[in-house]
């Protein structure tokens, strides 16, 4: 792999809000972060930890309290808005549905930093707009007004606008919020693809932990105290950063499965043998019904047979029983 190109990096960056005269409220920092071309970076963290503030600061919408941000080797604060607009494009949570805009006009606004004083589009501009439309699959609703789109469609259109702005870095603030599950997966896959195919750096904040673990090249994990861990998704799972950032009472991150356990530890214990898909889902069903899975339990379950014809065999201190459906097995064992 060729040497990675640093697009943006921060040194000793402190973010927060000014509060009153000569006072300020720091939210997080100092942060030393770097964004590379072709990478998808997911910013995760609990509500209120400062994800949006960090994104707004990096994109130049908000002044940092301290430290510096360098964009392609130049100090971000010394660049004019028109120069930054050619390097960073944004997808925000701001409402855009009140402008009587049709989809094409909205996407075409992405060419704003390049067009002349009257905003007339050249052939070159139109070509780039068409590419953005194609890449995001928004061609089907070009003629529609923006307020007639679903949340998922609207998010794709906003992404197309950012693509049309043709910047090496795209920053998205919670792009998956308000989307249904298929749209969320679709959008994340699209972003992953774009990062790989166009060599853009994409930075997004999200609450979709499992999706982020699957698509992110890097994860920035913020915790409520203002700290930030950056690294490969797998590294952060293995070194316990996830547990640290998200663990609250009664909720724990399970490093073995990469998910959060929502069930209390069960009082009854059972051991489960078998590694078929059926065995995997049987374990889930048992946990939901108040069992803890333990290899040393007295009650022993063996799941055997093909996934099309599974057999559940229970050995409870020598008392044996065989079941052929999961519900039959659960109904009996729950009592």
């Amino acid at each position: 792999m060729a040497e990675q190109k640093i697009l943006l990096h921060t040194s000793g960056l402190t973010i927060g809000y000014p509060s009153g005269k000569n006072k300020s409220k720091a939210i997080a920092g100092p942060l030393d972060l770097a964004l590379f071309a072709g990478q998808l970076v997911c910013l995760l963290g609990p509500n209120g930890c400062g994800k949006s503030t960090l994104l707004r600061t990096i994109s130049g919408l908000q002044e940092p309290l301290g430290g510096g941000i360098e964009l392609e080797g130049k100090n971000l604060r010394q660049l004019k808005p028109s120069q930054v607009a050619k390097k960073i494009s944004l997808v925000l949570t701001d409402n855009v549905r009140s402008g009587n805009l049709d989809v094409y006009s909205l996407i075409a606004l992405g060419r704003y930093p390049y067009s002349g004083w009257l905003g007339i589009l050249t052939e070159q501009d139109k070509l780039i707009i068409d590419q953005a439309i194609k890449a995001t699959g928004t061609g089907a609703f070009l003629g529609r007004k923006i307020d007639s789109l679903s949340d998922g469609e609207c998010q794709k259109v906003m992404l197309a606008r950012a693509m049309a702005q043709d910047t090496p870095l795209i920053i998205l603030d919670e792009p998956t919020a308000h989307l249904d599950l298929p749209s969320r997966i679709q959008l994340m896959r699209l972003l992953h693809q774009l990062a790989k195919e166009t060599n853009k750096a994409i930075l997004l904040s999200t609450h979709e932990l499992d999706l982020a673990l699957q698509v992110a090249d890097q994860i920035w994990l913020m915790s409520s105290g203002g700290g930030l861990d950056a690294g490969l998704p797998e590294e952060l799972v293995l070194n316990g950063a996830f547990q640290h950032a998200f663990n609250k009472d009664e909720i724990e991150f399970d490093a073995a499965t990469g998910t959060f356990n929502i069930h209390y530890a069960g009082k009854q214990t059972i051991s489960v043998t078998g590694d078929s898909t059926t065995a995997f889902w049987t374990r889930k069903a048992l946990v939901r019904n108040g069992f803890s899975i333990s290899a040393t339990a007295e009650k022993k379950l063996t799941v055997s047979g093909e996934d099309s014809h599974p057999v559940w065999e229970v050995d409870d201190n020598g008392k044996r029983a065989v079941y052929t459906t999961l519900s039959e097995f659960l109904d009996t064992i729950k009592i």
Binding site: V84, L92, D94, G99, N100, L101, S105, G119, D147
Partner: protein
């Protein structure tokens, strides 16, 4: 498609213009109106006088007012991202009135159509400046307030209240004036297209043309502001500078017109909606000329209705613009597209 719409609007404009000049308490046949317009020394001296000194300036004023108020309304709706913004609704014309009243007060006379008409050239410029500054003051106040308020309707109510406060200040001073002068002021608040002639018409035309030019030159800025301040900034717009430019041109347009014609309502809020609906676009490069065309036609029609064709009575122009404009506002609030479709 757009070409046909423009042609239809242009022919409507010519028709309405001719009718407006032909209508009035003295009947002049349309044929003679056209003759006088193209060959000024032909025909009946009285008719030539009426047309050249009274009706032509009034029709030209209607055109200037229609363009200026519509475009200032369009700019306000985009700047506030609020479909119900307009110079008369958000108290901008009230601010302009305050500016006018202050100048008249310090000059020791009363704000009325008559006194404004009697002003010399330098007085006219002074009134326009005071009026525009008054408009700008209220506008900056409302921009400041609206940045911390998310709800469109609340911004609107605050604007209406600020307008009321401004008008009260003027009224308190008016209250201590003699009854004849109060009547004069009331007549001014009804709005009038008839008081602007000669040098004043030229001054008004120059001021409004300047405002329209600034507005057209900032059409790209206005487009970017449709997505809100943050997106506008991320696309390279210096939001503060753009705001100042837009506030300046809006104040010049609304202030200049209010100084000479009184506060004329509803054109500023209604016409931009008609323009968006007719041309189905959000592009200000198209919307600004469209507003000028539609605003002109609408203002001329309002003036024709105000003549009450066939009678000797002339109704105040503000009454007619309210009758025509209010249904459009109701359509915006309660119509099929609700508040979103601005």
């Amino acid at each position: 498609m757009n070409k046909i719409k423009v042609l239809v609007l242009l022919s409507l404009l010519v028709t309405a213009f001719l009718l407006d000049v032909a209508m009035g308490s003295v009947h002049i046949p349309l044929k003679d109106v056209i003759k006088v317009l193209f060959t000024p020394d032909a025909g009946n001296d009285t008719w030539v006088y009426i047309i050249e000194k009274i009706r032509l300036p009034k029709a030209l004023t209607a055109i200037i007012v229609g363009c200026g108020l519509s475009v200032s309304g369009l700019q306000m709706q985009t700047l506030f991202r609020n479909p119900l913004a307009g110079p008369s609704v958000l108290g901008i014309t009230a601010g302009a009135s305050l500016g006018v009243a202050l100048v008249m007060l310090s000059a020791g006379s009363i704000t009325s159509l008559y006194t404004i008409k009697e002003l010399g050239i330098s007085g006219s410029w002074l009134i326009i400046m005071a009026s525009s500054l008054g408009a700008a003051l209220i506008m900056i106040l409302i921009v400041g307030i609206s940045s911390s308020l998310k709800d469109n309707v609340i911004v609107l109510i605050v604007g209406v209240m600020i307008g009321n406060i401004t008008l009260s200040v003027i009224s308190i001073w008016q209250y201590f004036s003699s009854p004849e002068l109060i009547k004069d002021y009331l007549l001014w608040t009804f709005g009038s297209l008839g008081g602007v002639t000669g040098g004043q018409l030229l001054i008004l035309a120059v001021v409004v043309a300047a405002g329209l030019l600034i507005s057209f030159l900032s059409s790209k800025l206005l487009d970017a502001l449709l997505l809100g301040d943050n997106y506008a900034r991320s696309m390279g717009l210096t939001v503060k500078r753009a705001r100042i430019l837009i506030i300046a041109s809006t104040s010049i347009l609304a202030g200049g017109i209010t100084a000479f014609c009184g506060p004329i309502g509803f054109i500023g809020i209604a016409v931009p909606h008609l323009a968006r609906a007719l041309f189905s676009t959000s592009n200000h490069r198209i919307l600004i000329p469209a507003c000028c065309l539609i605003g002109t036609v609408l203002m001329l029609i309002c003036d024709i209705i105000a003549q009450m064709p066939g009678s000797q009575t002339v109704l105040p122009i503000n009454v007619i613009t309210a009758l025509v404009g209010s249904p459009v506002v109701i359509w915006v609030i309660a119509g099929p597209k609700k508040l979103r479709g601005f």
